[in-house]
């Protein structure tokens, strides 16, 4: 059983967490790229999610 230390340990633990980034834009297509160019800094991505809504109820063109 792991030890949880008040005011030190994180609720999400050390194996999984998330960050929601506010973006603004309108368009039909979106593409995402994560990059880590810095010396001796890591990157370990499990997945992603996008929040969006259609700006037109029905496609018109």
């Amino acid at each position: 059983m792991a030890t949880f230390t008040l005011d030190t340990s994180r609720l999400a633990g050390n194996e999984f967490t998330f960050v929601e980034t506010i973006i603004e834009g309108r368009g039909r297509a979106i593409q995402l790229q994560w990059s880590q160019p810095t010396v001796n800094q890591d990157l370990d991505v499990y997945g992603y999610a996008i929040r969006a809504f259609p700006t037109e109820g029905q496609a018109t063109d």
């Binding site: 949880f4 008040l6 005011d7 030190t8 340990s9 994180r10 609720l11 999400a12 050390n14 194996e15 999984f16 967490t17 998330f18 960050v19 929601e20 980034t21 506010i22 973006i23 603004e24 834009g25 309108r26 368009g27 039909r28 297509a29 979106i30 593409q31 995402l32 790229q33 994560w34 990059s35 880590q36 160019p37 810095t38 010396v39 001796n40 800094q41 890591d42 990157l43 370990d44 991505v45 499990y46 997945g47 992603y48 999610a49 996008i50 929040r51 969006a52 809504f53 259609p54 700006t55 037109e56 029905q58 496609a59 063109d61």
Partner: protein, 458 residues
Amino acid sequence: MSTRNQGFIVHPATGGLDTTTPPSLLKPDQLTLGDNIEYDVQSRKRRLGTGRYNASAVTGTPTVTAVADFWRHGASLSPTQKYVAAVGTKLYKDDGDGVWDEINAAWGTGAANTYITVAGGYAIFSTDNGDAPRTWDQTTEAALGGSPPTFNFSVFHLRRLFVNGGAANPSDLPFSAGGGISTWSGSDSSKLILDEDDGDRLMGLSQPFLGDLYAFKGPDMGSVWRIGGRTMLSFTKDRLFPGAPCVSHGSIITTPTDIFWLSRYGVHSLQATQKYGDAEQFFLSHPIQGTFRALNTARLNQARGFYHPTRNIVGWFVPDGSSTTNNLCLAYNYTRNQWSTWSFTGMGGASCAVMLDVAASSAAKKPRLFIGGYGGFVWRGDSATLTDDNGSAYNARIRTPILVRLGDSMTELQEKSFSTVTTFFRPVGNYSANLDVTIDGTTTSYSVPLVGNSDTLG
């Protein structure tokens, strides 16, 4: 509070790199770019770093054309380990101190295809430069005894050295006597002829695979042969199938479950080719054919492959675009059947080998990827320090497909208003990664803190 936003979730994202299919037709969890990454069980992470094995370059900064791990038992249960290398016009050994010591001062060339085979207590050096093969038994360096053909490559199998026949007999597969790698005449040494003058020559040999050897002809039409049997009188040769012309001996990788090799058309698996033939859709490299077609095919004969069992990877150092050096590595995770590319900063892979740490204690030894470069250095890979060469940065990049359909109510025909992007990841440190968001061709950059945003309790 209600929101108009709808969620489009891709978690876990377990797809691999695909540079063949148009980016808008891929599944959302696939990648259009996966550079300097490895695939973990359910994630994509930055590949491990490299560091210089020898702190000082070999004098003259020549090309490391071959490097190998040389273990020798002799008459002892405790073997001695050395590294050996062909560098420029010389041969070297290393005692685990990171200093290459010269054992032959004039052999080979930095521009030739050079190979090292461990056989019968010797490291055997051979090249296509016409130099007679040399041996080293961890004490004495000498010419390979007897009158062997001037071969380019060799494999140790059934206590015999199997070699290519050289320029005079390009389709021959000579073999030495059993237990006598210096015995090339007499009743126990002979050769197999693999369809002479059929438009191809013997390009390479596999390591022993399920008891047999596999021979690869090329580089024009191609054919693959199985060499069976256990004794001189029972050796057999079977032409398994035509096609898939092998580009080099160094591109052939033998694993416990399959054999892989490069042709001028793609990367092949013996298991798949035997089952389905050499149609492109069954190439191992089919997902990255776009990347493969962009390689410098005129220099594919310089490709060198490796098998890394602890990282579940086979890979090839290849020349990209118009490069005249191997500046790109194609890495294939064979447990997930997924590709990534590795771009190294300040270094290229003229040769490579997965070797056990020579300086570590027996209990601490583990396989590491070693890369022989073009400027007198050998790099030691699998480093937890995420830099290349002498502390240079390298960029790990993960790029999704072009997402045009985010659900039944957000189709390809509808404009969308995008609100947020959520990144799911493992917290790795108190620093950030870059997130580039491209909407209809316009890119905006953001920063994603990788320390995580969950609060502490208290």
